[in-house]
Symmetry: C2
Subunit: 572 residues, 2 copies
């Protein structure tokens, strides 16, 4: 498809030049699902203009035009493009002969490939989708151009399937649902990339935190708490000052303080380990922390919860002996399995063993024998735990091999979240040690693990996965009590009191029951408890489950049992 | 006592000049409990030299010398002090006549007062206590001088009482106990002023957090979560950019980001409030958050947990109507009462109503009628809740009056922690509003409240208050199980399993039971469960309470009941 998509971007450019001769050309590649082309225009394109361009493109394609490639000298090229400043800018970086493509008299700088003739392009399986701003060469310091996006597939069926998926993903967009369910918000005064969580969003995150921490605690992890600030020295030793040089936030005051905000948590954890002399008997020592990490993301790229300046990472490290590494990794995988099972996401995943690029051993640090040992341990675990992992060569971390777990998001795209990583290097960099049985100082191995990654990205993923319709235990509001009139309010409060471990709201507005039910549906509240005078007398409740039309009468005790059944087992 | 203390500082200075003629004089006032004098010396004073100075001071005092005051011109003074650069520096700021005191031929710049004759000084009730570094005029940019501290009281008894208190406070020093109980640590690589909490310290903080949040939740507070970063705009509107200009941390990146780290939480909370249009029906809206606030404290002043760069503040705000203010404040006072009662600290406190300085209304913002109304509300509450508060004029906040609660620390010093503060101004600055019953936009009132202040300072206070001997519910480790030999280990694990809501450690080291008990005592663990073969057979346990010699045999169920009795009611 790449040839077709790339050819369509040329047809798009020539068509825009026909209709808007004043447009300057940027560039236009094939991309995933389609193509784009950038133009410098005095104003953006309207919907109507977009349609006009698309129709004209189709007419051009119908002419069965050929794509012709040729090579010319840079000087000739500069002549051809003398009125296109962006093309001239591109030419600056080209050495030797310049490759051109021509179609219908429209010449573009391009090394191809393209379809031979436009008759290869299926007229029904592409469309122009939208207009967006884009900096020339993606650099904020450059001019802002207008980008036209198109989508293109092999067939009309595939195009429609994709459009359906996009439609569905729009409905599930975490920014949209986050607003509708009042989970988080942004403020112009605070700035973009800095989400604030409302009570409901905070409740959701607290539930996730409780869940993941409880599981980790049952596997021997202990919570620690480290500051966000540090002297830069810490990251110079760990290597992160260099690795994150661009993304590091520096902190200063008028009176001369100078700190860095942590972009990762492991270096701080090494210092808690180092605060005492450790004996081999104490190992493994397992620390976990859910704290904010700070990264100076590009201003143009922040948005929603997926790309923010501070991510709250659920991070954990085990400091152990080499002989304990295998058991530690197995524990971590069990944690991952337990957590994702509780969300119904286990089995909807792939596992990769990310090993070295054996052709380029120079890309890694550490000793050959350690690498071999680790890779063999991972292979054994794969077998023993029946993970059905694929080996991916060249995907290891700088310090050691890792296991990555991939899940599918609402659009079917693979996202990597949990990871377990073996690290022989960091402990040595910080001179960490434990005293062995024979009194020797030995560097511990660090095993890093992420379970849900960052709460921000994970929340975005969960919102889109469940389309806001969270399982009972995660729902910000689990039960809404709907009293039919003021007389029933006291009984409603009594019920709320009895449901004290459940997150309950009473809707005591002066509006009809059906309106209240509709509101609860929109807020995706799992259970509605309707209280009328009949229920008041019988001391029963009328229960309505979300998305179900039927209202059942039941006892409060029975409902309590239903809630409790949902709570601890986290069924979906 | 001030005259005596001040006179002693002169005697100290003249004695140092006698013994060390090369010393340059700084200055030396009377202070709480004693006095000091600063000197520029090529090296510090040893213990021995300090004793020598003290003895020589006593000899001088015995001579029954008079203090004589006189006034001279600035020019004359400059002549007298021509070899004392710091005195010349002080003279620069003096206008008009210069006041001098002379004793035993030693002349000092000083406006007094002093004792008439050294015979008024009791020889047994003072001593030199320690040497410390101090910047000239307290400014880091100036030279570092050597300060000699002395303590002085009316009588030997009072001096001894003070020395005992100091001794006790050394034992209770939170830095010492924090290290012994392994609650928190510092790292040279991370830097001073940046404490890291170990698993035990983190457990302690989590218990406090749980407790205070549960109480606040029961009074209608909901947790929110805001980022630490913001555009400076937020604090320019709130007024904190100006107020904290020196203490503000600025955050930058190489690619040009520019943020501030929050020194307070209220401005962020206003933005969560502002994320939706609020109706009068929704009010009061009560937000709480335990998050880090950042202040660029002076590098020389950070230390322990009392002065750090990031404080984790348990903060809360209620947005309400004027008619709701009284009830809101009462709720907050109830929260404070409930929380401090759970720690056994209630009744050991004083309450102040901090009102305006009526002589200087220009120091405050807001309207006269609002101030009057608030002060009258606070007076009513004082009566209705029987707070027995004292009115303190001139102690109000810029924006409104407040109620402050003072507790006594281990040394008997009053510390102010909880506060409830009425604020008519902030909501208006951010254009916050709610829609009234008649459809009008009205600015809500904000009521700020702090319950335990910052976790850092509160933890320091609690450690010193309890001398590390925390109540059961707060203890980082609540129970240690001591198996007598390896055969009993399985049963120990079984018991641990059954005590699952309790923080339990098993001491399975190969050491004697008495050594294990001693260790548990040092770690201040409330309960020790000793498991021998007898207990293994009878399926009972031998229970030893901390500080009690007797070991009692009891059933596991009975012990579980004891623990549960402690857990929810938080008896001390």
């Amino acid at each position: 498809m790449e040839k077709t998509r790339h050819s369509l971007s040329h047809i798009l450019a020539l068509t825009v030049k026909e209709i808007f001769p004043q447009a300057f050309l940027g560039m236009g590649p094939a991309i995933e699902n389609g193509f784009y082309y950038d133009f410098l225009m005095p104003k953006s394109f309207s919907e109507k203009e977009l349609k006009k361009i698309e129709n004209k493109m189709k007419e051009t394609i119908k002419k069965n035009l050929s794509f012709k490639k040729r090579f010319i000298s840079k000087k000739e090229a500069q002549k051809i493009f003398k009125e296109e400043p962006f093309k001239l800018d591109l030419l600056k970086d080209i050495k030797g002969k310049v490759s051109l493509y021509e179609v219908n008299g429209f010449v573009d700088l391009c090394s191809g490939p393209h379809v031979k003739n436009t008759k290869e392009i299926n007229l029904d399986s592409f469309q122009l989708s939208r207009v967006a701003g884009a900096y020339w060469k993606g650099d904020e310091k450059n001019q802002m151009l207008t980008r036209i996006y198109g989508i293109a597939f092999e067939s009309k069926e595939k195009l429609n399937k994709y459009l359906d998926l996009v439609e569905e993903s729009k409905k599930r967009d975490h920014r949209k649902i986050g607003r509708e369910l009042d989970l988080f918000c942004f403020s112009e005064i605070v700035g973009p990339g800095l989400p604030m969580y409302t009570p409901k969003g905070t409740a959701l995150i607290e539930q996730l935190k409780k869940k993941v921490e409880a599981i980790c605690r049952s596997y021997g992890f202990e919570k620690v708490s480290a500051p966000s600030l540090t002297k830069i020295d810490l990251f110079e030793i760990s290597g992160h000052a260099k690795k994150f040089s661009e993304e590091l936030f520096h902190v200063n005051s008028v009176s001369g303080h100078s700190f860095a905000l942590k972009p990762v948590q492991c270096p701080h954890h090494t210092q808690i380990y180092a605060s005492k002399i450790r004996s081999y008997k104490e190992l493994p020592i397992r620390y976990m922390e859910s704290d904010k990490q700070y990264r100076a993301e590009k201003a143009g790229e922040v948005g929603g919860l997926n790309r923010v300046y501070a991510i709250t990472v659920e991070d954990g490290h085990s400091f152990c002996q080499v002989s304990q590494v295998k058991d530690e990794i197995k524990r971590m995988i069990s944690i991952i399995q337990e957590f994702y099972t509780s969300l119904g996401l286990w089995k909807n995943h792939k596992v990769y063993l990310s090993f070295r690029d054996y052709q380029h051993p120079e890309k890694y640090i550490g000793e050959e024998k350690d690498w071999k040992k680790c890779e063999s341990i991972l292979k054994q675990i794969n077998k023993e735990m029946n993970l059905k992992a694929e080996i991916q060569e060249g995907e290891a971390a700088l310090y050691g091999p890792k296991i990555d777990f991939m899940f599918k998001d609402a659009l079917g795209k693979e996202v990597q979240i949990p990871t377990v990583q073996i690290d022989f290097a960091t402990a040595k960099r910080f001179n960490l040690f434990y005293v062995s049985k024979t009194g020797k100082k030995i560097a511990p191995v660090m095993v890093h693990r992420a379970i849900l990654g960052s709460y921000e990205r994970f929340l975005a993923l969960l919102i889109e996965h469940f389309a806001g319709d969270f399982p009972f235990w995660l729902s910000p509001i689990q039960v809404v009590i709907i009293p039919i009139n003021e007389k029933c309010l006291e009984y409603a409060k009594e019920i709320k009191e009895k449901l004290k471990d459940i997150r309950v709201e009473i809707n005591s507005e002066e509006e009809s029951v059906s309106k209240k039910i509709k509101k609860a549906e929109l807020q995706k509240i799992p259970y509605m408890v309707v209280i009328g005078e009949k229920e008041l007398k019988s001391k029963k409740i009328s229960l309505r489950k979300r998305k179900e039309k039927k209202i059942k009468e039941t006892s409060l005790n029975n409902f309590l049992k239903i809630c409790q059944d949902y709570q601890p087992k986290q069924k979906l």
